[in-house]
C-alpha cells in the first residue's frame, strides 16, 4: 500500500512542477479562459465517478456515483464549451482569430 502512495506522491510532485513551469507567463487577456479551461480539466474526477456508478443496483454508492457523475459532467461539458465560446470572441485588430 505504501508503494501505491509513494508512486502517487511522485506523480503529484512532478505534475505540480509541470503545472508551475508551463503556466509562468499568462497574458491577462487569458486569465479568465485559462481559469475556466483549467476548471473543466478538474472535471477529470468524472473518471472516478464512472467507477462509483458502474453498478446498476439502487444502492447508496450508485446514487452517490450518479450524482458525482452529473456534477462532473456539468463541470466538463459546461467548462470546455464556455471556454471555447469566450476564446471565439477574442479577436485581433482587423481579423477574427477563430
Amino acid at each position: 500500500m505504501m508503494g501505491a502512495l509513494l508512486v502517487g506522491l511522485y506523480v503529484l510532485v512532478l505534475a505540480v512542477f509541470v503545472g508551475f513551469e508551463i503556466i509562468t507567463k499568462i497574458p491577462p487577456t487569458l486569465h479568465t479562459p485559462l481559469m475556466s479551461g483549467a476548471n473543466a480539466i478538474s472535471g477529470i474526477t468524472l473518471v472516478g465517478a464512472l467507477y462509483a456508478a458502474r453498478s446498476g443496483e439502487a444502492r447508496v454508492s450508485s446514487i452517490l456515483g450518479a450524482l458525482a457523475l452529473a456534477l462532473a459532467a456539468i463541470n466538463v461539458v459546461g467548462g470546455f464549451l464556455v471556454t471555447d465560446r469566450m476564446l471565439g470572441m477574442f479577436r485581433s485588430r482587423g481579423k477574427k482569430t477563430s
Binding site: I23, L34, L71, R91
Partner: protein, 475 residues
C-alpha cells in the same frame, strides 16, 4: 491486452492535458489548447469505460446525460457579464463531484459490504487520508463556490466582514474538519460508525466552506475564485489517490498549480497576502482612513463631458465592475468607435483585479469585439497617462483610488493603482458617491481635473454618444 492499454491511454490523456493547458497560456493557441484538453478528457473517459469492462449503464447514463445537458445549456446561455458566477458554479460542481466520488468509494468498499475495522485498515494510509482530504476539500470547494455564485449574481447580500473574529471561526472549523477526518480515517470502527463519521465530516466541511467565503467582500472575489479553482484541482488529485488513478492525480495537480499561480497574481495585484484575504477582519481600518465625507465634488452633465471628449486626441478608458453591472461593454465600444472615427486614439487601461474575476474586463470587452491589442496592462498604461488628454473611468473605484498610495491608514494602502490623475481630465462615471466596499473614500473624485457624471454607465455612455454625434454634425 486491455490491461496495459488502459494505463497507456491514461498516459496519452495526461500528455494531452499538459499540451492543452500550455496552449491556453498563449492567445494564438488558446482555442486549440482548450480543444486538446477536451480531447484528453474524452480519451480518459474511453479508457475508463474500457477498464470497467462489464458495467451497468443505468446510473452512468442518467448521471452523464443530466450533467451534460445542464452544462451545455448553461454554457450556451450564460451572458458574458455573468461569467464570474458561472465559473464559480462550475468550480463548485467539480469540487462536489470529487467529494462524492470519495464518499461513494467508502460506501462501495466498506459500508455496503459491511466490512469490520477502520478505514485505515481496509484502504491503507493512501486511501484513508486522501479520502478524508478529498471530502474535506471537495465539500469546501462546493459550498464556497455556491456562496461565491450567490454573492456574484446578487442573490445573496451580506456586509463583508460580518463574521468576527474570522480567523478564530475559520480556525475552529478547520480543527473540527481535521477531527472529523481523523474519526473517518482512523477511529470509526465498522460500517455504521464510518457512515456517521463521513456524514459529519461532509457537514462540517460544507458549513466551513460557506463561512470561509461568505464574509469576503466583492473586491476580493478575483482572489477567492482563483483559489476555489485551485482547490477543485486539489480535490480531484486527492480523489486520484483514493482510486490509485494517476490521470486524476496529474490533471488535478495541473489545475491546482495553475489556480495557485492565478491566486498569487491576484494577491500581488492587490498587495495583499492570501492569508490576509481569507482571515483578516478586513475593513477595520476604514474608519481610521480620514473623513469619508466628500467636499468639492463637481457633477457634470454628459453634454459638458462630450465637449471635453470632442477636443481630446488621446483617450484612455478604465473599466471596472460597474461596467459589467450596467452591461455597458457594447456602448463602450460604440463610443470608442466614434472617437476613433474622429481621429482620436483610444486605449483601454486594465487593472489586474478590475471586476470580480481574473481577466473579467478582457472577456467583457472581447464580447464587444474590442481588439485585444487595445487593452493595455497597468504597467504599460501608467507612464502613458501623462500624455493622455482624457481618462474615462467607467464603474471602477478602488483601482484608481490615490489613497492606496498616500493614506497609510487606508485598508487598500499599498495596492498598485492606475494613475489616472496624471491625465489632462478624468471623467468618472459612477452611479453615486456611495463608498461601497469597506467604505473607502476616493479623493480622486475631489480633484480639480475630475468631472463626475452620476449615472448608470450604459445610460451615460449612450448620452455621451448622442452628444458627440450632435457635435460632429454641427461641425
Amino acid at each position: 491486452m486491455t490491461a496495459s492499454l488502459v494505463p497507456l491511454l491514461y498516459l496519452v490523456s495526461a500528455v494531452l492535458f499538459i499540451v492543452g493547458l500550455k496552449g491556453l497560456t498563449k492567445v494564438r493557441s488558446a482555442r486549440r489548447g482548450n480543444a486538446v484538453a477536451a480531447l484528453a478528457m474524452l480519451v480518459a473517459i474511453v479508457a475508463t469505460l474500457l477498464d470497467l469492462g462489464t458495467f451497468d449503464l443505468r446510473w452512468i447514463l442518467i448521471g452523464l446525460t443530466a450533467g451534460a445537458l445542464i452544462g451545455l445549456v448553461a454554457a450556451m446561455k450564460v451572458e458574458m457579464t455573468a461569467m464570474p458566477e458561472m465559473v464559480a458554479l462550475f468550480n463548485g460542481c467539480g469540487g462536489g463531484a470529487s467529494a462524492l466520488v470519495a464518499a461513494a468509494i467508502f460506501w462501495v468498499d466498506i459500508i455496503e459490504p459491511g466490512l469490520p475495522g477502520t478505514l485505515f485498515e481496509s484502504l491503507g494510509a493512501a486511501g484513508s487520508i486522501t479520502g478524508f482530504l478529498s471530502i474535506w476539500i471537495g465539500a469546501v470547494t462546493l459550498s464556497g463556490s455556491v456562496v461565491a455564485f450567490l454573492k456574484l449574481s446578487g442573490r445573496l447580500k451580506g456586509r463583508p466582514g460580518w463574521l468576527r473574529p474570522r480567523n478564530v471561526v475559520n480556525g475552529l472549523f478547520a480543527l473540527a474538519a481535521v477531527g472529523a477526518g481523523t474519526w473517518v480515517a482512523f477511529l470509526a470502527d465498522g460500517a455504521t460508525e464510518l457512515e456517521t463519521a463521513t456524514v459529519v465530516l461532509a457537514a462540517v466541511s460544507l458549513i466551513g466552506g460557506w463561512l470561509l467565503v461568505h464574509p469576503i467582500g466583492g473586491a476580493d472575489m478575483p482572489v477567492v475564485i482563483s483559489l476555489l479553482n485551485s482547490l477543485s484541482g486539489v480535490a480531484a488529485a486527492a480523489t486520484g489517490f483514493v482510486l490509485g488513478n494517476n490521470v486524476l492525480i496529474i490533471a488535478g495537480s495541473l489545475v491546482g498549480a495553475s489556480g495557485l499561480i492565478l491566486t498569487q497574481i491576484m494577491c500581488r495585484a492587490m498587495n495583499r497576502t492570501l492569508l490576509n484575504v481569507l482571515f483578516a477582519d478586513f475593513g477595520d481600518g476604514a474608519a481610521g482612513g480620514g473623513s469619508s465625507e466628500y467636499e468639492n465634488v463637481r457633477s457634470f452633465s454628459p453634454e459638458e463631458a462630450a465637449l471635453v471628449l470632442e477636443a481630446a486626441e488621446r483617450v484612455s478608458i478604465v473599466p471596472g465592475y460597474g461596467l459589467a453591472v450596467a452591461q455597458a461593454q457594447h456602448a463602450t465600444r460604440a463610443l470608442a468607435d466614434l472617437l476613433q472615427a474622429r481621429g482620436c486614439e483610444v486605449t483601454y487601461a486594465i487593472h489586474p483585479v478590475a471586476g470580480r474575476m481574473p481577466g473579467h474586463m478582457n472577456v467583457l470587452l472581447a464580447e464587444a469585439d474590442v481588439p485585444y491589442e487595445q487593452l493595455i496592462e497597468m504597467d504599460q498604461a501608467n507612464p502613458e497617462f501623462k500624455r493622455t488628454d482624457v481618462v474615462l473611468v467607467l464603474g471602477a473605484n478602488d483601482v484608481v483610488n490615490p489613497a492606496a498610495e498616500t493614506d497609510r491608514g487606508s485598508p487598500i494602502f499599498g495596492m498598485p493603482i492606475l494613475h489616472v490623475a496624471d491625465a489632462g481630465t478624468v471623467i468618472v462615471v459612477k452611479r453615486s458617491l456611495s463608498p461601497g466596499y469597506a467604505g473607502i473614500k476616493n479623493e480622486l473624485f475631489e480633484h480639480d481635473n475630475t468631472m463626475m457624471i452620476f449615472k448608470d454607465a450604459k445610460e451615460a455612455l449612450q448620452e455621451l454618444i448622442a452628444e458627440l454625434k450632435e457635435l460632429t454634425a454641427a461641425a
